[in-house]
Structures are given as structure tokens and as C-alpha cells.
């Protein structure tokens, strides 16, 4: 009880501190058309003595200025419950509403503050491409010029790789095609038998073709195990033609990532590493042959970022054929994150050196594949001394360079730029390839490429602008950056050329098309990683306390969380509320077993769900293992484990996360840093008792009265996210009284209670919308106008919290935003 009472004190002290924080429940604005003067009068009578004439505060009484993002309705609630300090009943109902409206319009809201000259309006800042944007832009620039490989009809695309099974004859491995089939995972043990009737037991060969989906950007490790012969080609150029499958014939210009073709009488393991951009498919080909060995088997595994070694499986393999993607794999210094999100706000010599290295490697790729990318063949032998043929070729390559620059700069070039590109590199070189190489480096180092958008870039075709005066090319560039972190594709360019990015309807049509792209999915994965604070978490636990919670289980939980989120975001309802309330957990066979062994799931539920996992144990499917306990991401074991100590839960970590990122409440940094030392507490205390004791100082409590109840509500989930009734022998008390942003005290005791709080809180949606906005645009919402955030939050609610619609709104808003005139000439 001692702890409970200290809570009430804390809640009270928070009110005394008068912290204007957040509010609850949307209340209809009942004030109607009451004159603003009434609000002003009441404010002067009842509020100004503490808060000052313009809300600026009064020294020694209440120092802090009052301003923020709350709506009038939220302010009304807060005033009704808490103001004036000590006698909140003195300003309620219509009076509270009048005061709220008055301060909102006079000095509280961002719009009011700019109107009254209290704040300077923010502007969209000139920025360079972020590192992911740079890498994607280079990849898509080259992809723009890469002819698409012939594609099977969409209906024929299946998960897995298409395998062609051949009878071999000595050196001729693909001697006779016996059959084809789609193989969903690359794990085969044929023993001493054959995969197909009709294949000779002694010697056969298999070729698998298709593509591999990389979900994350980073280093991918691949591994082949076989006692036979195998090669893996990843990110090959499927358009350049592949070799015959013989022991003694050369592969045409293709370099295997892994070459384990030659046996040595035993099973071999070969590994390789490759850097890939997330959200993309890469062409994949695996060749295998058996020749006289007693057995035949093949295992192709990978270790993706955040993953452990696992079989290449149907969730990542597809029979779809795709073109090669050039990936800049030079290292870059990290982007600026001083505002909490990555943005291209600074240029350092290191960054610029990396950009030039990337440009050189991209130029090398272009020159190596010049006939394919430019469509300009090399001169034939007969033409070698033909000056006219040489000049025609140079002209075509100049055209190519100008087209590359146009796509790279995301706008039509000026006459001057075109002339410079056609002349400067070509004047210095007799070899046109050398000129193309230099031109490529120039283009990729140019500010027009490396900056997100050059303000006021002079575009020669003045007609090419929409009603608001924005050229279609600017709109297309912003859409591609916002949704893909990349440059416009061919479809956007055809709209630019037709000048039809002129209406919101047309733009929206593109946006809905664009968000179905893997690059958008990848970008959204990055957003959730940030919102849920998943970066650089060490989930390792005390192995004696949490047996079985190993690297593989941790990786599976991460994927489970990602799959759950993607299932919600990319479903038709795309409902944000599902993220906080769903009871589903996505499980594969390893996680089912883990949950079963730890008593979190009943055997019957697990058995029921695991029918298909016999065939594909790595495949995930949604399960509801427990009812009335789980609440979406809030109780996902990955998150609960990340927000815990290696040997115990951490209500403070969990509480801070919920406070800031789920409920959107501001917290100050702790006034004193206090380390939590588990061993310093008597062993018979619960975690809750320890935390309450640790944070009992008044200086702690102003925040911990908020943090602790939220953390305590999750105490029935242990340090690895499993349900528990007791902590050791001691019962767990999850109930607390929690004071909402607008001063109401409510009783909470579970994750589902937290979810309810979040769904009723505009601040909760505000933090979600604001972070998504920042992640997509790399700018703050306020840079687009003081009311942008409030308007987006309002429409989010009207859209039934539809996440995709929110993305569309943000993309359209950013794409069509017109900066108020900056002073462009200070000379």
C-alpha cells in the first residue's frame, strides 16, 4: 500500500507542477460562435496571473511558456480538470472551452504563434540525398536503362525457383531435359536415388532460376553445402545469355557468387557475402550436378541482416525473372539524426569522398555494360576505320549521356547543361567509353543529382507546370523520394512528359501504384523499426533463466513482428488500431515449439497450427495462442524482450517506450541518472516494488508517475515476452492509477488497457503521424505549414486510421507543397 499511496502523491505533484502536457477524448467543440473576447476576458481574470498576458509565463510563478500541438477540445479538457491550479472547478464547461479557443488562437497553436510573430515559420530545408536515397537512386538510374528480361506471365509467378532436371552424359551436364517443377525451398537430399523417374542415377544435373527477395539493406551471407557440384549466381545479368551447362564450356560474362563445382570426395561448404539493397528482388540461378558420387544432396542457405543461417525458402524465392540491380557498396558515414530521423542535412568530406567512390564504381558498371544500357553497339571490325561510323556512334553516346543526366537530375536539362554534357567529356577523349565514364562520374557527383531538390531549378519548358506552378518533374521527383527513397521510374516519366501530374487525382493514382512497390515496403519497415525503437537492440538473455531463447529464436521473433506489422499495414483495412489490439502472433515451427516448451501455448493449439510446417518449417502463419492477453505490438515478444534486462523485465524501459512512442507524451530527461542494480534490492521484492522504490524521489516522480503505471501494466510478460502469473513465488500486481494527459485519473492494469488509452488519445496518433511524416519526407511536418500535422491527424481519424491512406496524403502533400517565397537574392 505504501507504493500505492506514493502514486497519489505523485499524481498530485504532477498537477501542482502544472505541466501542460497532453489530453484525452475528443469533445465536440460546444462553444459554438461565442465571441473571442469572452475567452480573452476569462483568461485575463483567471489565468494570466500565472501564465502571463501572452502565455509567456510569469517569472517565479510559472516560468514556462505554454504552446503546443493540442486541439481546442483537448485544451478544454485539460483546463476543466486542472485549471486554475488548486481550484479546477473555477473554470469549467463553457468557460473552459472559451479560454481554450482563445489561447489556441492567440498564442498556443503553431499557426497562432507564427501569425503573431512569436515563432518563425519553418521551411523545407535544402538537403542532399540520404545514404539510402543515394544508393537507391544510383541503382534505379542504371535499372532505368537496363532492358527488362522476358517475364513469365504474372499468373505463372510462384513462390520458389523453377527447376529444370536434366539427364547428363559425361561432360554434357544438361544433356536431356527430363522434367521441370517449382521447388519451394533449396534443401534436397536425394540420397542414392533420383528426384525424377527417367533421370539416370549416376549422373544428372539441375538448374534453378528465379529471383531472391532481399527485405533489408545490408550484408547477406550465402552458403552452399553439397558433396556434388554446385554454383550460385546472384544478381547476374539474365539478359546477357547464359552458358551451356557443360564441364568444359565457359560462362559468358557471368561470375558465380559461389563456385563449388569441383568436388573433392567429401561434402563441401562454400560461403560468400554480398551487399544488397532492401525491398528488391535479385536474379538468382543455382546449378547442380551429380557425377558418380554415391549420394546427391544440396543445401543453399543464407543469413540475411537480422537473421540466422536458414534455408532459402518460399517466402523469399520467386520464379519471377528480374533484371540485375547495380548496388553501390562503398561505405558511407551515417546520416544526421539529430532530430530523431535521418536526413541529408550535412555534407562532410567523408561523405563526399564516398559519393565519388560510388560514382566511379557506377561509371565502371555503365562502361562495362555500355552496349546493353545505351543500346549503342561497339563498332564492328569493318567500321573501325570508318570516321563517319565513329562520329555517329559518338553522337549516340552523347545522346545517351544526356538521357542519363535527365533521369539522374529528375528534370529536363537546360540548354547549357545539355551542351556541356555533350562537349566537355567528349572533347578530352578519343575513346568514347572514356568520355562516358567521365560524364557518368560528373553526373553522379553533380549537385543536381545528390541534392533532393534544387530550389527554383530553372526548367526550360515553362509550360510543363501544374496549376500551382509546380513542374510535373518536381512532383514526380518528390513522389519517388517520399515513397521509394529513389528517383522517378518510367511510368512517372511518361506522366511528366504528358504533363499530367497536374491534379491531385492524377498524383494520387500514381501514389497508389507506387506504394505497392517493394521499395515502399522496405521504407515502411524502416519506419516501424524507428517507431518501435528496434534498432541496435541486444536481446541476449541469461541462458540459465531463459533456456531456448537463442539467436535463432530472437531472429524468428523479429521476423514475426515484421510479418505481423506488414500483414496489418498492407491489408485492405490497413488499420493502425490493429497494430495495438490484435491478438495474433506470427509463428513458425521453431517459435511454436519455443512457446510450447515455455508453457505459453497449449499443445493442441500448436499441433493444430503446425500441419504445414512439416514441409516448410521456416514458414510463418498467424496464431492466437492466448485470448485477452496480447495487444498487438505492445505485447509482441520481440519488443517485450528488447525492452527488458538480460535477466529480468524492465518496467521503466517498457514504460518510457509506451509513454513516448505509443501515447505520444513528452518526457524530460532524468534529472539524475540512476542505474538499476537488481542485486541491491532484497531478493523478496518484486520488480514493481524495486522500481517504485528506485523512483520515489519527487524529482523522479514527475515523469515516473506516468512511466511506471504503463510499465507495471506489462509486468505479466516476462523478460522474453511470455505470459506469467507470478514473479518467482510472488503474485504480480499490474494495476495502477494513471493520470491521462488532460488530468483524468484512470485505473489501468493490462496491455489491452494501454491500447485503449492509445486509441482514445489524439496525442497517440499525433506521434505516429509525425514520425511517419518525418520518415517519409526527411523533413518535419511544420516545415510544410503550422497546421499540417493537426490536419493530417484529423484526416487519419476520418480515414478510419488507414495507414496507407495516411501515406498517400503525406506523399501528395509533400509533392505539391509550394514553399512561401524565400529571399533568393541576398546580393
Amino acid at each position: 500500500m505504501r507504493f500505492r499511496s506514493s502514486f497519489r502523491w505523485g499524481a498530485f505533484s504532477a498537477r501542482v507542477a502544472g505541466a501542460l502536457i497532453m489530453s484525452l477524448w475528443l469533445v465536440a467543440d460546444s462553444v459554438g460562435q461565442a465571441p473571442v473576447e469572452d475567452g480573452a476576458r476569462i483568461y485575463q481574470q483567471k489565468c494570466a496571473s500565472c501564465h502571463g498576458e501572452q502565455g509567456q509565463g510569469v517569472a517565479g510563478v510559472y516560468d514556462a511558456a505554454i504552446f503546443g500541438e493540442r486541439s481546442i477540445a483537448e485544451l478544454t479538457r485539460l483546463i476543466e480538470r486542472t485549471m486554475p491550479e488548486g481550484e479546477p472547478e473555477a473554470c469549467v464547461a463553457e468557460e473552459a472551452a472559451l479560454v481554450a479557443r482563445y489561447i489556441h488562437q492567440e498564442f498556443y497553436s503553431p499557426a497562432a504563434r507564427i501569425r503573431k510573430g512569436l515563432d518563425q515559420p519553418l521551411q523545407v530545408e535544402l538537403s542532399r540525398l540520404t545514404v539510402p536515397q543515394y544508393r537507391n537512386a544510383v541503382a534505379d538510374l542504371l535499372a532505368y536503362f537496363t532492358p527488362a528480361p522476358s517475364q513469365p506471365k504474372a499468373d505463372d509467378v510462384e513462390p520458389g525457383l523453377r527447376g529444370a532436371y536434366f539427364a547428363s552424359e559425361g561432360m554434357s551436364k544438361a544433356n536431356k531435359l527430363i522434367d521441370t517443377r517449382v521447388d519451394r525451398r533449396l534443401r534436397f537430399d536425394f540420397g542414392d536415388t533420383v528426384p525424377f523417374e527417367g533421370l539416370p542415377k549416376e549422373q544428372f544435373a539441375i538448374v534453378w532460376d528465379g529471383s531472391l527477395l532481399a527485405e533489408h539493406t545490408g550484408e547477406y551471407h550465402l552458403r552452399v553445402k553439397t558433396p556434388n557440384g554446385a554454383r550460385v549466381y546472384l544478381n547476374l545479368d539474365p539478359t546477357s545469355g547464359l552458358h551451356k551447362l557443360r564441364d568444359d564450356s565457359a560462362a559468358a560474362g557471368q561470375f558465380p557468387l559461389i563456385d563449388a563445382w569441383v568436388g573433392s570426395g567429401t561434402e563441401r561448404e562454400e560461403t560468400a557475402r554480398v551487399f544488397l539493397l532492401g525491398g528488391r528482388r535479385y536474379p538468382l540461378r543455382v546449378e547442380f550436378f551429380k557425377y558418380q558420387e554415391p549420394t546427391a544432396s544440396l543445401l543453399v542457405e543464407w543469413k540475411p541482416p537480422h537473421g540466422v543461417w536458414s534455408v532459402l525458402d518460399s517466402a523469399h524465392l520467386s520464379t519471377a525473372t528480374v533484371g540485375r540491380t547495380f548496388v553501390v557498396d562503398v561505405g558511407f558515414p551515417a546520416d544526421d539524426r539529430s532530430l530523431g530521423f535521418e536526413r541529408g542535412a550535412a555534407i562532410s568530406p567523408d561523405w563526399y569522398a564516398a559519393v565519388t567512390n560510388g560514382a566511379v564504381s557506377a561509371a565502371e558498371e555503365v562502361v562495362n555494360r555500355l552496349p546493353l544500357l545505351s543500346g549503342v553497339p561497339p563498332l564492328s571490325k569493318e567500321q573501325a576505320s570508318d570516321q563517319a561510323a565513329h562520329e555517329t556512334r559518338v553522337q549516340k553516346l552523347q545522346d545517351f549521356v544526356v538521357r542519363v543526366a535527365t533521369i539522374a537530375f529528375r528534370r529536363p536539362l537546360s540548354e547549357e547543361e545539355t551542351q556541356l554534357l555533350r562537349t566537355r567529356p567528349f572533347a578530352n577523349h578519343t575513346q568514347p567509353e572514356a568520355a562516358v565514364r567521365q560524364a557518368m562520374v560528373w553526373i553522379l557527383c553533380s549537385p543536381s543529382f545528390v541534392y533532393s531538390e534544387m530550389p527554383g531549378a530553372k526548367v526550360d519548358d515553362a509550360a510543363n507546370s501544374d496549376t500551382s506552378g509546380l513542374p510535373s518533374s518536381v512532383v514526380a521527383n518528390r513522389l519517388a523520394l517520399t515513397l521509394w527513397d529513389s528517383i522517378p521510374d518510367a511510368e512517372l516519366w511518361s506522366s511528366v512528359e504528358a504533363n499530367d501530374l497536374t491534379s491531385t487525382a492524377n498524383i494520387e493514382k500514381h501514389v497508389w501504384r507506387m506504394i505497392n512497390d517493394g521499395r515502399t515496403r522496405h521504407k515502411m519497415r524502416g519506419f516501424f523499426q524507428r517507431w518501435l525503437m528496434l534498432e541496435q537492440r541486444d536481446l541476449t538473455k541469461d541462458a540459465a533463466l531463459f533456456p531456448g531463447f537463442d539467436e535463432a529464436v530472437i531472429a524468428d521473433w523479429r521476423r514475426s513482428l515484421e510479418l505481423f506489422i506488414e500483414h496489418v499495414v498492407w491489408s485492405d483495412s490497413s488499420d493502425y488500431r490493429q497494430l495495438l489490439t490484435s491478438e495474433e502472433l506470427w509463428l513458425n515451427s521453431r517459435l511454436r515449439q519455443h512457446m510450447l516448451e515455455s508453457g505459453s501455448a497449449s499443445a493442441s493449439v500448436v499441433a493444430q497450427d503446425s500441419a504445414m510446417s512439416e514441409l516448410e518449417p521456416e514458414a510463418f502463419s498467424p496464431s492466437i495462442l492466448e485470448t485477452d492477453r496480447r495487444a498487438g505490438v505492445l505485447t509482441h515478444p520481440y519488443l517485450l524482450s528488447a525492452l527488458a534486462y538480460h535477466n529480468n523485465t524492465s518496467p521503466i524501459h517498457r514504460g518510457v517506450f509506451v509513454t513516448r512512442n505509443v501515447l505520444g507524451r513528452a518526457l524530460r530527461s532524468p534529472p539524475v541518472a540512476i542505474a538499476f542494480e537488481n542485486d541491491e534490492f532484497p531478493a523478496d521484492l518484486t520488480m514493481r516494488q524495486k522500481v517504485a522504490h528506485l523512483t520515489q524521489d519527487a524529482s523522479c516522480l514527475s515523469c515516473h508517475t506516468i512511466i511506471n503505471p504503463l510499465g507495471f501494466a506489462l509486468e505479466k510478460f516476462d523478460a522474453v515476452g511470455r505470459w506469467r502469473e507470478t514473479e518467482g513465488e510472488r503474485p504480480i500486481d499490474t494495476h495502477s492509477e494513471y493520470e491521462t494527459e488532460d488530468g483524468e485519473v484512470v485505473s489501468i492494469g493490462s496491455a489491452r488497457d494501454i491500447a485503449r488509452l492509445a486509441l482514445q488519445s489524439p496525442a497517440s496518433q499525433r506521434v505516429f503521424v509525425a514520425q511517419l511524416f518525418q520518415h517519409l519526407t526527411k523533413q518535419t511536418p511544420a516545415s510544410y505549414g503550422p497546421e499540417v500535422l493537426a490536419n493530417l491527424v484529423e484526416s487519419f481519424e476520418q480515414d478510419q486510421y488507414h495507414i496507407q491512406r495516411l501515406m498517400v496524403r503525406i506523399a501528395v502533400l509533400a509533392a505539391t507543397h509550394q514553399a512561401t517565397q524565400k529571399v533568393s537574392n541576398t546580393r
Binding site: H429, Q438, P447
Partner: protein, 443 residues
């Protein structure tokens, strides 16, 4: 390619002749201070495939005191006859899995058996990679382990028209058991490996002025706040310019890098040009002491190169199968081997015309070349009487003669080389059972 063209290519790479003294080399280039008793030694393996024509290759007379008489087929090497040593009666006796081409190739420099494997040759049992390291890699490891003989690369493996695949017919160098070393058969890749840093700096440096112009144009359109980023950008560009200048002046090459056509296609008909580029790159790398071990592999065992530049339309390997009495084929094989001898002579000539940096004589005086082949004779597939031809003064062997050892394992030849290169305690190399009686006496 004419001289003028080559210079143009050089300029296209951004490497103008005026800039040569500033081109970056690497820290391993401390060419002045080699004095003392340890003279610098180098080792080059020169490989051509599909056997030789014994009657045209072997000299008529053998013996320590008989000056070497070269046959017509080897006539391009005549200027170097006094610096040559031809060894007859040295056999590749390695048995086990694999056909003679495979063992001929992958046991030639390794002198040990192939691992069992899955590659079926023309008859006999299938096999895999060699089960041990090759002599060039062995020497490299020894020299790299000694402070004085350590170089940036240790060894360089060149290829000419080697097909892009890895199997026992295409690999003669091995870092160890089942660890083949791939030859680099693209002069452009080799150039990048040797001089890539400088080349890249030149390329980047060539666009920085244009980028600065771009930035100045952009600046005029920007507000004062936005110029901060542009200033940072300009500062970074200038920093890069300074870095490039500093890197370029840091290390200078004693020998400017050779001229490489950056656009040459790796096709059969360009083989003669590619061969010369690779040799130029090799000699240059040795002169700059980037490496002291090098190999150059022409085609591969069972290679079917069509040497149209010699007026030969048939594939080399098919020709080598023709019986001795097929006069047309015999004459063509003679032309082919004369061409290889000519390439070897070009290598020797380049070495002989390069002064030994900081030392006496020429590079050739300090370099041991050995010309090898995976077979003794093409149409018999014999691994006996491998045509071993030593050239140069690197190992200190007595030259201007031919010796006939009458049938000894070639392990003993590699032992002799290893000992001559300073590993005096080495008692066996490759398969131990072929090492009786120790190194061949070549002094």
C-alpha cells in the same frame, strides 16, 4: 596498337605523361635501399598448353659443357640462348585420379595428387582440385614470411585467354589443398588491381572542376540559409582535391605504369594484344617491386584457342591430337609454339631492358623464368619429358646448356628452385615419395 594510340589510351584513363611522376605507387616501393648480401630474386612461371613437338623442342646435344643449340621452333629465343637452361628427362610422375590433362595441369606446379572429385575428364576416374600448394605460391609464402622479401602482393597471377570457369584444367596455381588461385586474364582488372587507386583519383580529379562550376551555378539560386549546405559541399570538394594531390605526391613509381587499352575486348582474336599488355603489366609490377612472384597462363589445358593471327583456324587442342604424320597439323603446331616462344622472348626482352632498381644489371639477371607445359607431347598425352625451359639469372643456375636427367620426378626440380630461392632446409616438395635424392643439381 601503335605507340600513338597507346598514349591516347593513357590520356583517356586520365593518366597523362606529364603526370607520371606523380602517379601513386605504394608504400612497398622502397627501391633504393636494397644493398647488402641479399640480392633481390624473382620467379616467373610461363605456361602454354597442350604439349610441345618433341622433335622441334629438344636440342640435339646435352651436357654441362656443350653450348645450347636452339631448334628453329624456338628461334625467337635465340638472343637469350646463353641465359637458358633446358631440362629433359624430368617427368610429372604424379598418379591417382584425373586424366592426364587434369593431372598435367593441376599437378604440374603442385607435384602432388588430385583430391577425389566429380570432374570427369577424357577417360580414367573423375577428380577434383589439387591436394597441395603450387611451387609459385610456396615460394611466395616463404618470401612473404621474411621481412626483406615481403612485397605488397606477394604474387601476381596473370592469364591470357583463360576461360571464365574454375576446374582442374584451368587452374595451375594453388594456395593449398582444394584452394585454386584464379589467374586475372583481363588487363583492365589487373591494371585496376595494381594502379586502381591512382586511376580513380585521376578520374575523380578530372570532374571536380566541373562540379565546382555546377555548385557555383546552383548557388545563385539559393537562399542564404540553404547556402550553408552548399558551402559544406564546396569545402568537401576542395578537401578531396587536396587529398588527391597529397595521395599523388606521396609515393612515386620508379617505373611509370604501362599503357593499357581500357576498351579491349576479351575475345580470342585480341589475344596477341592482351598477351603483350599482361607482360608489360607484369614487368612493371616487378620493376616497382609490387611482387616478386608472378605467373602467366596462356589459355588452359585442353584449350581450343583458334590462333587466327597465325593463320591457324583449327582449335589448338584438336590440332595437338593429330598424328605426327599429319604434316599440315604439325606445321601449324610448330607455328603455335613458335608464337609462345616469341611471347616468352618478349617477356625476357622487357626484363633485360629494365635496369635492376637499385642494383646491378637488369631485371632479367635477377629473375628466374620457367616455361612449362602440362604435357610432354599433345597426341600421346604423356606427362614424361615435360618441356621445362629455364631463362634468366634469378636462381643462379648455370645456363647456356641442356641437361638430360633421364627420367626423374619433377618434384626435385621444384625443390631445386625452392632451395635456390633461399629455403635451403627444404627436403621435400609435393608428394614425398617423389623427393628421393633431393633437389636436381643445376648449379
Amino acid at each position: 596498337m601503335t605507340q600513338r594510340h597507346r598514349r591516347q589510351f593513357l590520356r583517356d584513363l586520365g593518366l597523362s605523361a606529364a603526370a607520371l611522376p606523380f602517379l601513386a605507387g605504394l608504400p612497398s616501393i622502397g627501391l633504393g635501399g636494397v644493398g647488402g648480401s641479399n640480392r633481390r630474386q624473382r620467379f616467373i612461371v610461363f605456361f602454354s598448353p597442350n604439349g610441345t613437338l618433341p622433335d622441334e623442342f629438344w636440342p640435339k646435344a646435352y651436357g654441362a659443357e656443350i653450348p645450347l643449340q636452339l631448334s628453329a621452333m624456338l628461334s625467337p629465343l635465340q638472343p637469350f640462348a646463353e641465359r637458358m637452361l633446358i631440362l629433359k628427362g624430368v617427368h610429372n610422375q604424379i598418379l591417382g585420379d584425373g586424366d592426364n590433362h587434369m593431372r598435367g595441369m593441376s599437378c604440374l606446379l603442385t607435384a602432388t595428387e588430385l583430391s577425389p572429385g566429380n570432374i570427369q575428364g577424357g577417360g580414367e576416374t573423375p577428380a577434383g582440385w589439387s591436394s597441395g600448394p603450387s611451387i609459385d605460391q610456396h615460394v611466395k609464402n616463404f618470401w612473404q614470411s621474411q621481412g626483406e622479401t615481403n612485397t605488397r602482393f606477394g604474387s601476381l597471377e596473370f592469364g591470357v585467354a583463360v576461360p571464365n570457369r574454375a576446374d582442374p584444367w584451368t587452374r595451375m596455381c594453388y594456395a593449398g589443398a582444394n584452394r585454386p588461385v584464379a589467374p586475372v586474364d583481363d588487363p583492365k582488372l589487373m591494371f585496376n588491381k595494381l594502379y586502381g587507386g591512382a586511376q580513380q583519383r585521376q578520374l575523380v580529379g578530372s570532374v571536380l572542376d566541373m562540379v565546382k562550376d555546377d555548385l557555383r551555378r546552383a548557388e545563385q539560386r539559393l537562399s542564404r540559409e540553404d547556402r550553408r549546405l552548399l558551402d559544406e559541399h564546396l569545402h568537401s570538394v576542395r578537401q578531396l582535391e587536396q587529398d588527391i594531390a597529397a595521395a599523388n605526391s606521396q609515393a612515386e613509381l620508379v617505373h611509370p605504369e604501362p599503357e593499357i587499352d581500357p576498351t579491349i575486348e576479351l575475345i580470342n582474336d585480341n589475344t596477341p594484344q592482351i598477351s603483350r599488355m599482361q607482360i608489360d603489366l607484369m614487368v612493371n609490377a616487378l620493376a616497382n617491386d609490387m611482387s616478386r612472384v608472378a605467373s602467366i597462363q596462356y589459355m588452359r589445358s585442353v584449350g581450343e584457342a583458334r590462333m587466327r593471327w597465325l593463320g591457324v583456324e583449327e582449335g589448338h587442342h584438336s590440332l595437338s591430337h593429330e598424328p605426327d604424320n599429319n604434316e599440315a597439323a604439325y606445321e601449324k603446331l610448330k607455328r603455335i609454339n613458335t608464337w609462345f616462344a616469341g611471347e616468352l622472348a618478349y617477356l625476357a626482352e622487357r626484363l633485360a631492358s629494365t635496369p635492376e632498381p637499385g642494383g646491378d644489371g637488369t631485371l632479367l639477371d635477377h629473375t628466374q623464368i620457367i616455361w612449362v607445359n602440362e604435357l610432354g607431347k599433345g597426341n600421346s598425352h604423356t606427362l614424361s619429358d615435360i618441356p621445362f625451359l629455364l631463362l634468366g639469372g634469378g636462381a643462379g643456375f648455370k645456363t647456356n646448356r641442356a641437361l638430360d636427367f633421364g627420367g626423374v620426378p619433377h618434384n626435385r626440380l621444384w625443390l631445386a628452385l625452392a632451395q635456390a630461392f633461399g629455403e635451403t632446409g627444404l627436403q621435400t616438395f609435393g608428394s614425398v615419395k617423389y623427393c628421393d635424392n633431393g633437389p636436381l643439381n643445376l648449379a
